[in-house]
Amino acid sequence: MSREIAGVKASAGIVIGAALLLHNSELEVQTVSVEDAEAEIRRFQEALEKAKVDLQEISERVEREMGSEHADIFRAHLMVLEDPELVDTVTGTIRQERVNAESALNNAAQGFISIFEQMDDEYMRERAADIRDVTRRVLSYLLGVEMGMSGQAKEEVILVAKDLTPSDTAQLDRRYVKGFVTDIGGRTSHSAIMARSMGIPAVVGTREITTAVQPGSKLIVDGHAGVVIVDPSEDEIAAYQAKQADYDLQKAEWAKLVDQKTISQDGHHVELAANIGSPQDLEEVISHGAEGVGLFRTEFLYMGREDFPTEEEQFQAYKQVLEKMGEKPVVIRTLDIGGDKHLPYLNLPEEMNPFLGFRAIRLCLDQQELFRTQLRALLRASVYGNLKIMFPMIATLEEFRQAKALLEEEKQALQKSGVDLSKPFEVGIMIEIPAAAMMADVFADEVDFFSIGTNDLIQYTLAADRMNERVSYLYQPYHPAVLRLIRQVIEAGHAKGKWVGMCGEMAGDPIAIPILLGMGLDEFSMSASSILPARQQIGGISREMATKEIPQILGMSTSRQVEDFVTNRFAHINS
């Protein structure tokens, strides 16, 4: 009987193969007394040297294959092995207590690990894992235990482990390892990020894969769905082989488009950008060939902590994103919090109607210190790339003017104190409230751009909470009312020479894309994984022909009618 185990989808793709279980259980270290301390110290130093040679090789190989950034972690490991505090503590302990090197090293490392584990900063806590990883490497030489698993894999395997450390993943022999599955970890854990940059399917955080699988068990790893099938039936294998073949073909097509611009069949360029939630998402943005970041949600900086992020922390995050994107545009949205998104330290009362309540720009204009801090961080970061600042939930022109005035005040104050703000940047608004969409022609005189946030625009237009299952059928992206508002915003922007983008789910929707393209949308911002499919789709559509269909589409009566028409008219979108 086959068994399905769900986890977190860490890296897309499908692979079928045999499981190789990696046992990275704790190495057992016993304390033994030694006669000849000097000989024991030499043994320690030899193990240290071997580990250094390993790390040197790994860091060179990783740098060559995956880029310098991925190699940083191994250079850091090397520094740990060269750390005089560690080395002197170990040799001192061997000499004074006449104990074996394994035990002296283990104790010294534990001391450092517990210091780092107790630190407040998440980054520093992660360093404890680095010390553990590098200590294991030396211990395995001392104990004569084979550490790498690359030696074990002589045929194609799917690696199954409790967790994969940076050392483990770097040592994977990519010729043989075709996927991996772990018990712990999430989308942003080291193993998930590595899998994506290696382009092999992975499912992490399954909780139980190591206990559910025997060495050699047959597995199907579906990285799209985040599912692993253990001991699949013949039928399941055949079904997944077909899926895998389709996906491989598709992927080969998409891969050709990574470095290309997005050009419609009749030669019009539009920009395909990505939505991100944190600087960590950039890797995927770049590997999927985004032409910019169309929405950087800054909420992550504020969540999962006990106090507001400092200006400096924010500045570093914005700067990092701007620098990595180079000259490509990066639209950073100011804080959109309140209502349903709570911050414990902000202490806001519960609301009856959170989506119509005290949130986003409304909150920022009220709690000005909070807002000014973010604006200063954005301003300071502006010289490091191609920044565009976007205010969310703008309903009235006064709100925009007030927000812009605060930005201007902070700008002047910073300039006075000598901060370099020489690089111009654009300031725009997110259009997600029907009132703003209706008044787009008025806004267009004062903003530099519009970005249509369809997730909220749709629910406000049809007055339907999409989280409420009983009314979610009213959440209709193709409803002519929504499309008319969108067209109005695009035309109002263009009439004043302003560019118009979209940063909701709709921008990556294959049914919506021909309509939006036909309406003249300039920028489509979506999740990174949708970019290449969208680029391929747009390459097959003539914008001029799509434009001719717009009056007819806007004259339709129902969402269903629009959907059927677009599906038939642009038949290839279902391919």
Binding site: A76, M79, E82, P84, I115, M119, I131
Partner: protein
């Protein structure tokens, strides 16, 4: 032996990369290098020691060098700590 009080200008303090560059530079000198913060000493040539001392921007610390090249060491390391970007 030279001691010098320094106010740390590094935006992230002695975190990750700056800590690594500090230690690499310190290792090039023959002198012993110490960082003292609130009476607690860290070996300036130890990456773990330096990182564990959690030195942040704006902290006033004492940089201590002791050895034949102590003057050069202080001058070079002080610069690293005061870098603002």
């Amino acid at each position: 032996m030279i001691e010098k009080k320094v106010v740390v200008g590094l935006p992230h303090g002695l975190h990750a990369r700056p800590a690594a560059s500090f230690v690499k530079l310190a290792t090039n000198f023959k002198s012993d290098i110490k960082l003292v913060k609130n009476g607690k000493e860290a070996n300036g040539k130890s990456i773990m020691g330096v990182m564990a001392s959690a030195i942040a921007k704006g902290d006033e610390i004492t940089l201590v060098a002791n050895g034949m090249d102590e003057a050069d060491a202080i001058a070079a390391l002080e610069k690293v700590l005061q870098e603002e970007e």
